[in-house]
């Protein structure tokens, strides 16, 4: 029972009823920006409303219909299962205290959520280090919990500290949330990273959906070049990306 919507992009405003609600389609998983009213649970006429202005998106994953609203914002609010780049701000006997967005509530990263965790084996991170992790658990009135492994398999799966090796230079860029999601998930249409590699810019990259992009290259000028390109490409149309890349590569590398 998959949903077949036309390829139209529907702008929706806060408080509007979703399109699927009008067509009586069943949604199994609710994504960001959607609110389920529960005032009339008894009569099964609870409704799906939008809480943010954006574009409706529908997808079918397996047998589940997924719906979310694509909107842009600057401040990140944790959502379960998101890949984020967190900054360690403090450490206690059981967990690290991390920050995933400036001026916001802190989140916890317990030592038990690392691969091969035992009581004695604890990771040695310093304050200010960047950690690539996933949001594991959200609880009301309590800080969110992060994890540094795939909790189903117990593997490391690329999570962990983001650190430049000796002789390499890293930087972290703050940008809007929609741009980060575009870079991370839309790799078929949004070819910015591929274009950078085509221009002989080799770099490591980690993208957190909390608006942070970590890059690492072998020289400082190259890092600055990639940083500037990613920063400049955020605010312009996709067609202008080639020109920007060319301009910065000329300015910094040759």
């Amino acid at each position: 029972m998959s949903i077949e919507f036309e390829e139209q992009q529907n702008l929706i405003l806060p408080g509007d009823l979703l399109e699927c609600e009008k067509n009586n389609k069943i949604i199994h998983i609710l994504g960001q920006g959607i609110y389920l009213t529960y005032d009339n649970m008894l009569y099964h006429n609870n409704k799906l409303l939008a809480t943010n202005a954006g574009i409706e998106q529908y997808k079918t994953i397996g047998s589940n219909n997924v719906c979310n609203i694509e909107y842009n914002s600057k401040r990140y609010i944790p959502q379960q299962g998101d890949y984020v780049i967190a900054t360690v701000t403090n450490s206690y006997s059981t967990h690290f205290v991390c920050s995933i967005a400036n001026f916001s509530n802190t989140v916890h990263l317990p030592y038990a959520n690392f691969p091969q965790a035992t009581k004695k084996n604890r990771p040695k991170y310093e304050n200010g280090d960047l950690v690539y992790c996933r949001v594991k658990l959200l609880r009301k009135n309590l800080p969110a919990e992060l994890e540094c492994m795939d909790s189903e398999t117990g593997n490391k799966d690329g999570f962990g500290i983001l650190e430049a090796e000796a002789g390499r230079h890293s930087a972290v860029l703050n940008c809007s949330l929609a741009y980060c999601r575009e870079l991370l998930f839309n790799d078929k249409e949004f070819l910015l990273l591929t274009k950078l590699v085509k221009n002989n810019l080799g770099f490591e990259v980690a993208i957190g959906v909390n608006g942070k992009i970590w890059i690492c290259t072998k020289s400082l000028t190259e890092t600055l070049c990639v940083y500037k390109i990613l920063e400049a490409c955020e605010k312009v149309n996709r067609s202008e990306h080639d020109g920007i890349i060319e301009k910065f590569v000329k300015e910094f590398i040759k």
Partner: protein
Amino acid sequence: MAKELELNNTEKKFILSLLAQNQRLDGRKSLIETRNLDIKINPDAYGDVYVSLLTPEGSVSTRVHCKITADIVKPKDKRPFEGSFYVNCEINGLTGLQFENYSKPNSMSSEGYYTRFLESMILRSNALDLEQLCIIAGEKVWDIRLDLHVLEYDGGFLECASIACLTSLLHFKRPYVEVQNEKIHKVYTDLDERDGVNLGVLHIPIAVKFNIFQQLPTEELIKQSNNTNPGKELVAIDCTIKEEMLSNGEVLVALNKNREIVQLDKPGGVPLQSYKLLELANMALPMVENITSKILKAIEIDESKRNEYAYLLSAENDRYDG
């Protein structure tokens, strides 16, 4: 809820290693390069100025609004011939969320410190002639109040604010007052009826802030107590907020283009050798000259726009020297 702006180690290391290579994160190519200055004067009022610092890419990083209001008050008993001048500035959560926890003073949000610096810079150097503000000695004087609003904040507050203060002081016109028999006969508040009077600005002091980045750890500096290795520290002008957070000390200098140091302050931080201070003041001089000419040009352009038809009313005729 609102917490500090947090810098992570990667960012710190990146910014410091860029500074060591004479580069800045916002695209400037040198440590002593300032951001572009943009002065906008409200065409409908006098002394209403917007000053912003633009990054090389053209986006606004710091923006300040400055407005002057004048009032007639009774002078202080000790100084019956002098008017009064007051700078009011509050940085609130609108500027940036790091200023929301105003109860906790820190180096970044010490707005009181900076506004006192500006006020004493203007008053103690006699940049604003207070005696011209006297209407009737001991009875009525003008009270000039300057309101500063910080609309966007990315470092460079002191430069931006001092430029805005001086531009609006130069531009402001107080109403003309008619005095008869030692009593105020009429105040011409409508400037169309009778033109206002400019304030007496005697010179133009501009404040510049230097941030010092020390490249050796503090323990080593203490060991070499005689400081035999000068030039180990980096000095940057017009720092962004992130650079300010990483700096080990700051020096505030207010200068005018007549090569007079009006005010000098060094609130803590790493030790500096005395000759370095003179070096810094010399470094600031071309910058101050540049800014002064920009301020005067902005006022001149505004003046010519206002008096578009002045030449029609002028009795001056073209001289013919045959």
